[in-house]
Symmetry: C2
């Protein structure tokens, strides 16, 4: 029954629209093979893409893209979409694997409407496209495709709520694979399960309650069923939710069986699923997520009121399934709902518990208002540990770790600590868990875990108190977090040139230690280096403080720019952030 | 039937718990009288408080506060709560009207759990309190009280979604008066209406779909009905929503009839509802909201693709009911849903429409992620007009306008313009509406509307291009937005002392005009003044730029602090932001 499909002849959805249903099934099989090869050799979002091959074929088959508009939420599921919209070689030819990004990207194709990588926004974005269409009297279909896991994010609900009032064509495809990155958490998931179990007929229906017509496709990986359904809603004149039941990881047994492990994966063995990351994979280097989780598990046993919180990314903070089980009710996954995670932490602290929220830099910005109002203004003693807040972390333009430092350190009454090594990280974490006076953010250093037993630990991090790591004169090098070791190296280089630079670990970026800074007033040069954009960051506070002084202040960090798939070493060099460049800048400034 | 109640004897909820139902009804009447007097004489949130007197009495009567915990969403409805929790004099004695804030405040009372003024967070906060209780094995009731209008905010949904999974006592009281600040917008409101019309029996039930048990009280201003219901859910062992149907503005005919006008009101005549703000009230001074709305209405007629957007605060941006009607489908109120407003604007721009979002400074921070990801990263040409981003705006600690400037200007590819007068504001707005290259934020100046026909208008605001308002030497005074006139005055003062300061209008805060700044490299002093906190703001960028130069840079603005009900003139003085102080600082720096 399988027809032979020549993938190289598929340059756009027009090339699949004349196929019959058997050919489309063969197309799905034909797409799956190179996709599996690329995923296993190159890494990427495994489960979401494998589960959506059929639905994406059916969408492009039925809807007249690119005139009809499809917005893919978070775009974790768009590799098959890229394959049939003119980018096949990036999936079939290993030499071209990196020609495309892992997310939709309008610079790649007119079929990609937005550069997207944060969840839950597709319905809101699509509602704007639909409204623009209505204003100009257009007739094209507007489709938002969103996963069940993404539905827990507040903006998804705001989009659903508004979208229901459009009164015109608006199609929300809910891709329900019964999983977020990890398992789902939230009251709506019981309803989705009920709908799946009743073939969509249950009275209790979230989508109808929000004002949508509702359709259900039980075999969401069956192309004929999908085509029939999409045809039935094409050109519909009112908002409708099409709920499709799909299999995450479809067609790869290890991914079907281990959905969390294979949401995203680095290169792996296609048969066993084993990681291929390095021959020494058995002894992977220690990472801060493990250090964090192990520390918390240990302390949870002593302190029943200690509770760890994640917003849908337990793996990123070291809490895989085993550790979650061990933590029991002292671990809370609120689902992809950062605002809930941060506001709930405020409530927990108010109620006498000791909340520790582990959160990824690029996602914490979704809860800025809660950091400001619920946490800082109310001075609730919650602890926030920020992962990947670094140029040495994730490097997709949608997932940059450049912005959290300035964002959080400019909120009043929020202490932002910047440890430089494992020992300091743990000391700050322990201190913050034990104190009950204020909210604290601890920013995990970037790059590999560094151990430094010479670091000076204190028993109170609440007051600005810079550590002078190396005494010196004329030149002061202030290295924030990740960049303390860099500054120490730069100092060594300068000392071989007859200079004697002071090196400072500021420990925090939210308050200035004026006592220490005032010692530098008659220095010649101060250099600050931070792991984030310069604008709004730490260094500019130092420059402002010394605005009326003679000492030269040089602020190093990243320019205020989005970057996509950058090379960290190149970026570091571009920003004058290597020890050699810093030493050179100092020499030049002294002239 | 009415019993005489001596309000002065009510010092805590304990004093009402021995009353019978007739006495409680009399209490409601007795509370309403001074509340009306205070509201009409002093101003405040009229409708929300009048509608909740009975429910708040019943809550404190049934629940054992403060051991049982009640979190009031946005706390617009907490005046009656304050009256019966030890703060009666602040409502009965005009000399003490200002003893309390308009919001819950833990510094006032142990019955107030949080300082709250942004909507939609109560369920999330309460879920943390409930979880903390569960971790320590407590048994107290945890109650969140939230209005129907606040339900459209994403964090309300995130809280509902998580709260449903607590599996223990968790009571969400939905105070449904069929109104947001203005009318409600969103699909959920059709469901709330259906529930009201079916006495809570409809199958289509948002709250059940989200995993809650559900109860309905049709007479939400009837104390016996409320008491009966609250008793029935007290000590419940699972999450429940109690939906109460209340009358906004209850007991004040003009407020019952004009719910939007009387959501919040400045002092007014109790009988007629007429504003008492000033004898010349008939000729109120022009404000930027009117200027904005009138301009947009005019342009909408020429441009059918122009669309104005608000997130539930149409009045704050000049769109009262009449202008909304006039704008027709070119005006969109998405409900209290800032993330939706900003993401939808991205979709509108992508779809070829010209969106203009009017948004209040303190609320825009709820959509930071959408500004960064959906707008800036995608470079969608939407326009955002920020109201009350100023120290001369709202002065409650929950509603400060100090933070938006740094927040937005540190996002890459987002142009933040800072007009200084009406003419410049309109020129920038017109330019932004017409250009299709980039997202633009325009920050309305603070204080009274200023007209300045000498301002230099340009036909392109995309590139940094500072206006030199006054040529000069040695001293440069850079006045951002609100503070340009202040800098001009300071220059006049200095010029009488033989100095010749340059005065600069930077026009924007997101990029530096290095060509102009480089002219100042050999000046003696540069002063920057901005209407927001110094940390992360504009001035620090200038200080950093001149870090290696001899010129002294003095950054003026506000300290990084929350302030509550401050006096703007005093704060201005405290921050050295008067012309006299600036002149003095310059003289000192020159010595």
């Amino acid at each position: 029954m399988e027809t032979n499909i020549d993938l190289q002849k598929i340059n756009s959805p027009a090339d699949i629209r004349n196929m019959d249903e058997n050919e489309l099934k063969s197309l799905a099989a034909a797409l799956r093979r190179p996709l599996l090869d690329k995923l296993s050799a190159h890494g990427g979002h495994v489960g979401p893409n494998l589960g959506m091959i059929e639905a994406i074929i059916a969408l492009h088959y039925v809807f007249n893209t690119p005139d009809d508009k499809i917005v893919f939420d978070v775009s974790h599921q768009t590799y098959p979409h890229k394959m049939i919209t003119g980018r096949m070689a990036a999936f079939t030819d290993p030499n071209h694997y990196d020609d495309v990004t892992g997310y939709t990207n309008p610079r790649e194709s007119e079929y990609d409407l937005f550069s997207l990588g944060h969840t839950s926004s597709a319905i809101a974005l699509a509602s704007g496209i639909a409204k623009a269409r209505d204003l100009r009297g257009g007739k094209e279909n507007v489709v938002a495709v969103i996963g069940d896991g993404s539905l827990s994010g507040g903006v998804a609900f705001e989009g659903l709520d508004y979208g229901a009032t459009l009164g015109t064509n608006f199609i929300v495809v809910v891709n329900d694979n019964d999983m977020s990155i990890a398992e789902n958490h939230g009251g709506i998931y019981a309803d989705l399960r009920l709908l799946r179990n009743t073939n969509g007929t249950a009275d209790n229906n979230l989508f109808r309650a929000m004002g949508y017509a509702y359709r259900y496709v039980h075999y969401g990986n069956d192309i004929p069923s999908l085509i029939k359904m999409f045809r039935s809603v094409k050109d519909i004149d009112h908002p409708v939710v099409v709920h499709i039941n799909t299999m995450k990881g479809m067609g790869l047994p290890v991914a079907e069986a281990h959905k969390e492990r294979f949401h995203y994966s680095a290169p792996f063995d296609l048969k066993t699923g084993a990681s291929l990351s390095s021959p020494a994979a058995a002894t992977e280097p220690e990472d801060y997520a493990d250090i964090f989780a192990n520390h918390l598990l240990m302390r949870m046993k002593e302190r029943p009121e200690l509770v760890a919180i994640t917003a849908g990314t337990p793996g990123s903070i070291g809490f895989g399934p085993g550790r979650r089980k061990e933590a029991g009710r002292q671990f809370v996954d609120v689902g992809i709902a950062e605002q809930q995670a941060v506001a709930m932490a405020s409530g927990l602290a108010k109620g006498g518990a000791r909340p520790v929220v582990g959160i990824v830099s690029t996602f914490l910005q979704r809860a800025y208002d809660q950091f400001s109002q619920d946490i800082a203004l109310n001075r609730q003693p919650a602890t926030f540990v920020v992962f990947y807040g670094s140029m040495f972390g994730m490097n997709d333009e949608t997932h940059l770790g450049f912005f959290d430092l300035g964002l959080l350190s400019n909120i009043p009454d929020l202490l932002v600590l910047t440890p430089t090594c494992k020992e300091e990280f743990l000391a700050m974490l322990r201190w913050s868990e034990d104190q009950t006076k204020q909210p604290v953010v601890i920013r995990v250093p970037g790059g590999e875990v560094r151990s430094d037993s010479s670091i000076k630990i204190t028993d109170d991090y609440s007051q600005p108190d810079y550590e002078i790591v190396r005494e010196g004169s004329r030149v002061a090098l202030i290295g924030v977090g990740t960049f303390l070791p860099t500054m120490k190296e730069a100092a060594e280089l300068l000392s071989t040139n007859g200079l004697d630079p002071m090196v400072i670990n500021p420990r925090e970026v939210s308050q200035l230690d004026k006592t220490t800074l005032d010692q530098l007033r008659n220095f010649d040069v101060i250099v600050t280096a931070e792991d984030g954009i310069i604008d709004g960051g730490y260094g500019q506070k130092v420059a402002s403080y010394f605005g009326d002084a003679k000492v030269k202040v040089i602020n190093l960090g990243l320019p205020k720019q989005f970057r996509n798939r950058y090379n960290a070493a190149e970026l570091q060099h571009e920003c004058n952030l290597t020890p050699e460049q810093i030493a050179e800048l100092v020499q030049k400034a002294l002239k």
